[in-house]
Amino acid sequence: MFKILKYSFYDLSRSRWSYVYFLFYLLLGFTLLFLNNDLSGAVITMMNVIIVLVPLIGTIFGVMYYYDSKEFTELLLAQPIKRKSIFLGQYFGVAISLAASLILGLGIPFVAYGLFQSGAIWDFVILLVTGVFLTFIFTALAFNIALSNENKIKGFGFAILLWLFLAVIYDGIFLMALVHFQEYPLDKFALIATMGNPIDLSRILILLKLDISALLGYTGAVFKNFFGTSMGTILSLGMLSLWVILPVWRISAKAKKKDF
């Protein structure tokens, strides 16, 4: 598996798209910090970008890579290698190279602007951790979709739809539910619904770290009580991990049975 991972990783690190992705974050980081020298302000803006773009790019990149390397995969399948290691190797290759682009692309400008001397370092760390989790989650989901759909167009369609659902539609349904049931106590529901979507969970985790969390008022206090405890932190990290583990498990299960 590590050999395949290595090949995938090297293959991607030579690919133009990884560089584009890396340069995009580099440019974004520098521009933001140039326009507004305040690190914690930049973290907020960065959050908006991360919770939307990282899942989108993870999804598209994952699907694209799978379909692109299909011939190579079929060649590998002819060799005496476990199927599990082929697909997981490819998956981790993609996810790790995307995560590396993200960490380096954002890390370099922030470090250059004196991150280590500022108090925003933990905000930034949580930003990167959630970014990396989102990369792993959405790449895994993309591989799942690609494995289940031979038709490229269909695969792409589903992948985009999945992103659209988790990034936008889910919140719409969430909001409608909140408005519809406003007569009832909704704190627990809001908490559970937030935990159910990795994008929402990441957003809240970052928001609670920032000053702006005071705006959340009473509901925010309930959230802070929950996420502020070690139990809440473990639970939310566990939830994010679960979002990685379940799709990864399905990749290996699906790959085992699939006809090529």
């Binding site: 719409g172 909704l186 809001a190 705006l215 008022g217 509901t219 959230f223």
Partner: protein
């Protein structure tokens, strides 16, 4: 003529007739209490440097001038009040009063004035006090240049720094108040002027009005308090040139207006507050040329607002400019500058050609369903706000600024 001469004669000699009593550790008189007992109305008591462990010093019906030289320390040793005064024309200046006892049933204060007109409390330092100045039924006073510091433990175990009850025509000037419950509290007080004070890190309010009409506060700074200023059940309050800063927390705000009428807010700066102005029941209140900068909410109106106008204010980078519940009534927003305004100005008269709607759909929803705030900064919310901006359906139609300014208003 004879009478006039005798009056002149008296006036000439009165000041010199007033005696001076010195108190120090090596003087004849060693305690403040002793000095007060000896003193006659009109005398000056000079207290020299040193530590005086005294509490419950009472002054009754003697107009004394108590003066500290190089800040002598009056240590009340956590028992009761330091000075209790019931006399006209008392002046206390230059003292350092420390360690006032705490109580749940009695209001122990560094200086308690009751029915004492024409008083002056000047340049004192109060540290570790329960109440600072507790002033009851005393009119015509001056409180100037004092520094008051509490321990700021919790609301139940702290008192107010300057507490006025039933006292009129009092000037509170250039004081610095820190870590008390309320910085300045006024209940049933009229025609008081509160000028250039700094109230910071107080547990509850920096300044608190209750049932107090015709007062003004000008040029004060309220920073990092539980809430900056609370004005409740009062009329004709003038609020000018104040700075409300960093009153930040889930239940915090810069200024609370509760059942207020005929007030003017002019040239105030609200910066980094969770809610800059929290208005609940305002009638004929004018907001003119104020700056609202980097607040969570700039203005939150809870209803019951009538003839309240917002004119020529700057709304700069607030998360929400206006949160509004209830009917619009006859309130107006006009000629303000909004950083979130994205209209155009074709005729170049510096007034935007399209009206601005300060209430976003999301803030409208949050007002009805507070839990919805968890979706803050979600992509869906941005899309929703954008589409509402393009064609408003849900937000109150009349709530607009018809003449939004294109440039920041300089005042």
């Amino acid at each position: 003529m004879k009478h006039f001469l005798s009056v002149l004669f008296l006036l000439y000699f009165l000041p010199s007739m007033a005696g001076e009593i010195r108190v120090c550790s090596s003087c004849e008189i060693k305690t403040v209490k002793q000095a007060i007992e000896m003193a006659q109305s009109g005398d000056t008591i000079s207290i020299e440097e040193g530590i005086y462990k005294e509490s419950d010093i009472t002054i009754i019906n003697k107009s004394l001038h108590i003066k500290g030289i190089n800040y002598p320390v009056i240590d009340a040793g956590m028992n009761g009040t330091a000075f209790a005064i019931k006399a006209e024309g008392v002046t206390i200046e230059g003292l350092k009063i420390i360690n006032i006892g705490r109580s749940h049933t009695k209001d122990y204060a560094a200086i308690l004035l009751n029915g004492s007109q024409n008083f002056t409390l000047k340049n004192n330092i109060l540290e570790n006090v329960f109440f600072g100045f507790l002033i009851e039924k005393s009119d015509n006073g001056l409180i100037e240049g004092n520094r008051i510091e509490g321990e700021g433990i919790d609301q139940a175990n702290s008192g107010n720094a300057i507490h006025l009850w039933n006292s009129n025509e009092i000037t509170i000037k250039n004081n610095h108040v820190k870590e008390m419950r309320d910085g300045i509290y006024i209940e049933f007080g009229k025609n008081c002027k509160i000028i250039n004070n700094v109230c910071e890190k107080n547990l509850r309010y920096g300044l608190h009005f209750m049932f107090s009409d015709s007062n003004s506060y000008i040029g004060n700074t309220f920073e990092d308090n539980g809430a900056g200023v609370a004005v409740m059940f009062s009329k004709h309050i003038e609020m000018k040139k104040n700075l409300f800063k960093k009153n930040w927390g889930p239940a915090s705000y810069g200024l609370l207006l509760k059942e207020i009428s005929d007030a003017t807010l002019e040239h105030n700066i609200f910066e980094d507050n969770t809610i800059a102005v929290n208005a609940d029941g305002t009638t004929r209140v004018e907001f003119i040329e104020n700056d609202f900068k980097n607040n969570g909410y700039a203005i939150k109106v809870h209803g019951g607002a009538y003839t309240t106008s917002f004119t020529r204010n700057n709304f700069l980078h607030n998360s929400f400019d206006v949160g509004y519940s209830g009917r619009l009534n006859d309130n107006t927003f006009s000629g303000n500058y909004w950083t979130n305004y994205s209209g155009y100005d074709l005729d170049k008269d510096n007034i935007g050609d399209v009206a601005y709607r300060p209430v976003k759909l999301f803030s409208h929803i949050v007002n009805q369903t507070p839990e919805a705030i968890v979706l803050l900064r979600s992509l869906f919310i941005d899309i929703m706000d954008f589409s509402e901006k393009v064609s408003p359906i849900f937000t109150p139609k009349e709530l607009i600024d018809p003449h939004p300014q294109m440039k920041r208003i300089l005042w």
